[in-house]
């Protein structure tokens, strides 16, 4: 009997050690990689550490990071929205289209663009929640539909004009205290969403639904309502990303943000959001996005061809997903 107890004690100890290892890499893995790459690239290229380049990285990261907030909260609840790049385009086309083609006041146009993004999210939620199509498939379909409408409206041309004033372009191009505007917007949005997901019922319920929706229901959570809100918030963050993008470009075209869903999902997964739901933190998605930003920036500075960048991006996504899968297997 004592032998048996000994053995079980040893197994438990071993298990604790393994768990410690898993916890350690889960918590510190990405920050360590971040610091490592940061140091590596500053040695590899003299300009990497300059203030301008760091602002460059932040600005290039900001749009992905902002949209990835929506992706993160949806993934925590066990859902996913891959129509976000198309939603960005919808918001951009609505905003710029209203300004240029209909001479609408710019602020009202922006509000309409945000509303269009929210509407895209709401439509996604209807298919997922009421018609019960798995969110990946439903948003794969709407991804094509939203994009299609953008091209139908723009007929394949860019929309631009004098109605787009410097004030509008300031959102994407301007600086406040030497910090680019998109970065400031990113910081504000992250602050808001970090607070919501740490301190409010909505945040708690999102984790609860992702962890076990049945338990959430039995605990009195209206999970449908929570999921609708999450999809709308996903549409909202996409719309902000889309509008910033049009402001930087000073124009819009149907293909706006095409292919960006890739970087957005990679950022979220690198940040530790689990595909299985219930896990992840909004703040870490920022870290994931910055890590991607550093990689991309370094590859440009080091003159690595964009074809190799594609290979690297795919590799990073596989790496992040593999890490997630290994972690859940350990549990």
């Amino acid at each position: 009997m004592s032998n048996g107890q000994d053995l079980s004690k040893r197994i438990r100890l071993r298990f604790n050690q393994n768990r410690f290892k898993a916890d350690f890499w889960e918590i510190y893995g990405i920050p360590i990689a971040f610091v490592f790459l940061f140091i590596l690239f500053s040695f590899l290229h003299e300009n990497f550490l300059s203030f301008d380049n760091i602002m460059n990285i932040l600005r290039a990261t900001s749009i992905i990071a902002i949209v990835a907030i929506g992706t993160t909260i949806l993934m925590i609840s066990g859902n996913i929205d891959i129509s976000m790049a198309s939603t960005m385009a919808v918001a951009g086309v609505v905003t710029v289209g209203l300004i240029v083609d209909f001479n609408v006041n710019q602020i009202i146009a922006i509000l309409c663009g945000l509303a269009a993004g929210c509407l895209c999210g709401l439509i996604n939620s209807i298919f997922v929640i009421f018609i019960r199509i798995p969110s990946f498939i439903a948003t794969l379909a709407t991804m094509s539909i939203y994009r299609g409408f953008c091209f139908i409206y723009t007929k394949g041309y860019s929309i631009y004009g004098d109605q787009i004033t410097d004030a509008y372009k300031f959102i994407g191009r301007g600086y406040l205290l030497k910090i680019p505007m998109p970065v400031i917007i990113m910081i504000i949005l992250f602050a808001i969403f970090i607070i919501i997901f740490k301190y409010t019922k909505l945040g708690l319920y999102t984790y609860a639904i992702g962890s076990n929706e049945k338990v959430a229901l039995l605990s009195g959570v209206n999970s449908k309502r929570v999921k609708i809100i999450l999809f709308i918030l996903g549409g909202f963050t996409s719309a902000i990303g889309g509008i910033i993008m049009t402001s930087r470009l000073g124009s819009v075209q149907g293909g706006l943000a095409t292919g960006m869903e890739f970087g957005i999902i990679t950022a979220a997964v690198l940040g530790g959001v689990s595909l299985a739901g219930g896990k992840g933190v909004v703040s870490r998605t920022l870290l994931g996005a910055l890590l991607l930003g550093i990689l991309n920036n370094a590859m440009v500075l080091l003159n690595i061809s964009s074809f190799w960048q594609m290979v690297t991006s795919g590799g990073v996504l596989l790496f992040a997903l593999g890490l997630d899968s290994l972690k859940s297997r350990q549990e």
Binding site: R19, Y199, T200, K201, L202, L204, Y207, A208, S211, N212, K214, V215, A216, L217, L218, S219, G220, V221, N222, G278, K279, E331
Partner: protein
């Protein structure tokens, strides 16, 4: 027992221990050929452990099993199958998307395969022969999904026989059947008995045992009490119940200092029926009382109370809260009205397994009391710490993720989550399962204190002695109906005999 019949299965001196429990002690009995052999015992008597040993899921610590006179050792379920023992579990293992023939030969398609293609025509033909030989009228090309439960059972039986089973174990086969289907099953059993197959029949319903079994073995606390030839008399039934309960027959008087049965009815059900098998229940719960619910597997006790809490599955009847009828409601409004529900399957229905303890315990409380959507985390932490001490939840920190807790501690977290919600009506489905003896008493004390504070409690439990100790009244449920209400003097033998159908009102 020497009527010349051969022995199909001999079980000799089986022992099995789990950490802390000696589940089977020196279990020996013999099953004769062409016989239906009943196995009865209270919850926890060791029936399921014995089945799992015979089907090769568990290994016995000691003892012998002989099939047709040959000693066998099962290191895995396949070995058990190969030596002629098939098990049909409560949860049938047929595959909905296959046809009857495909399911019948599942895993044995090789016999019909040529150049990598399966000859389905041949398979159907052979299935037809097997089914006709047994006397079952199933269409081999029919999808399993379209079969009724009793037809699926026929398919399982046919599968067992086609694999040369000499002994078929049936674990609570009637728990999902209607009365009419039970009749079909008994016919099927009579048919296969004539094929030279022996059946070990496990059931909570004594009537079924008396109806179809030739012999019955009674298990109590992991030991064989006796094996008897079945006689269909009233005295024999009483004898079996006595054997099941044993010497520990206890009569407990309710001894309450608090005032109960005040005229305040907090919950009332009138003629309540559901589509899950609950049949016209009338029930009242009074302010400050503990109402015990006792019933075996298939009694629909969980279905009844889950339906009351969720507002789902109801087909007819009325629910009154504080004498006011509530018509349409859902879980959220139940919680709002002060009803709390502790689910039976605590891990799957009660816990957020990858959230920390500090998020689990105050979850429902947060739901009820948060300002402008913001959580009162200070209160949440206090509540969590309070219950961690009260229930002695062993954890290094309240921020520990629940997955990493032991099973018993997880159970306590679920209970704490419910208690923290400060409900006025508590429905506790098996609150004592998986909890160690010391903590059990603490939990009983907590439940008692809650009733003294004026909360009304419905407690469903298979642990009868504990239930008798704590309840003010006990309702016995069988087949979705209340068969007996007992007040004041609780007699173990009486309660069990109502629950297994040995007595009826």
């Amino acid at each position: 027992m020497s009527d010349g019949k051969q022995q199909a299965l001999e079980i000799e001196g089986i022992h099995k221990s789990f950490p802390g429990v000696h589940a089977l002690k020196d279990v020996s009995f013999t099953v004769k050929q062409n016989c239906i052999h009943g196995l009865v015992g209270e919850n926890g008597a060791g029936k399921s452990t014995l089945i799992k040993i015979l089907s090769g899921v568990y290994h016995a610590d000691a003892g012998n099993i002989n099939v047709n006179g040959k000693s066998v050792h099962f290191s895995n379920p396949r070995k058990s199958l190969n030596s002629g023992i098939s098990t049909i579990y409560q949860e049938l293992s047929v595959i909905d998307d296959l046809t009857v023939a495909q399911d019948l030969f599942f895993g044995e398609e090789k016999r019909f395969t040529k150049y990598g293609f399966i000859h389905f025509k041949q398979m159907n033909k052979e299935s037809q022969t097997i089914l006709r030989d047994i006397g079952f009228e199933l269409d081999p090309s029919m999808k399993v999904r379209f079969l009724s439960v009793s037809e699926k059972q026929q398919l399982e039986i046919a599968k067992a026989i086609s694999r040369n089973a000499k002994i078929i174990l049936m674990d609570e086969p009637t728990s999902a059947l209607s009365d009419r289907e039970v009749g079909f099953l008994f016919n099927d059993i009579a048919t296969i008995k004539q094929k030279g197959v022996s059946i070990i029949y496990i059931s909570h319903h004594l009537d079924e045992i008396f109806n179809i079994c030739d012999y019955v073995t009674v298990l109590r606390d992991g030991e064989v009490v006796d094996t008897l030839e079945v006689q269909n008399t009233k005295e024999f039934k009483d004898e079996i119940i006595n054997l099941m309960v044993g010497k520990k027959i206890a009569t407990i008087k309710t001894n309450r200092s608090r005032e109960i049965f005040s005229d305040k009815k907090v919950l009332e059900l009138v003629d309540y029926s559901t589509n899950t098998g609950v049949k016209s229940i009338h029930l009242s719960l009074y302010h400050g009382e503990i109402l015990g619910i006792y019933g075996g597997l298939g009694s629909k006790r969980t279905e009844l109370f889950k339906s009351i809490f969720t507002g789902n599955d109801k087909t007819s009847g009325k629910v009154l809260l504080n004498n006011i009828e509530i018509d349409k409601y859902n879980i959220a409004s139940s919680i709002e009205e002060g009803i709390g529900f502790l689910p039976e399957d605590k891990k799957e229905e009660g816990l957020f397994i990858n959230l920390p303890i500090s998020k689990n315990i105050p979850f429902i409380l947060y739901n009820k009391e948060s300002r402008f959507g913001f959580l009162n985390q200070k209160q949440g932490t206090q509540v969590t710490e309070h219950f961690r001490k009260l229930l002695d939840i062993k954890t290094p920190s309240i921020n520990q993720i629940v997955t990493y807790l032991s099973g018993g501690n997880q159970q306590k977290v679920v209970l704490a989550k419910l208690l923290a919600a400060k409900s006025n009506i508590l429905i506790l489905d098996e609150p004592l399962i998986g909890i160690d003896v010391g903590t059990k008493n603490e939990i009983l004390d907590i439940i008692n204190d809650l009733a003294n504070e004026g909360k009304s409690i419905i407690m469903i439990s298979s642990e009868l002695l504990e239930l008798m100790r704590i309840s003010d009244r006990i309702l016995v449920i069988r087949n979705g109906s209340i068969v007996k209400e007992i007040q004041e003097n609780f007699n173990q033998e009486e309660i069990i005999s109502y629950a297994v159908g040995g007595r009826t009102t």
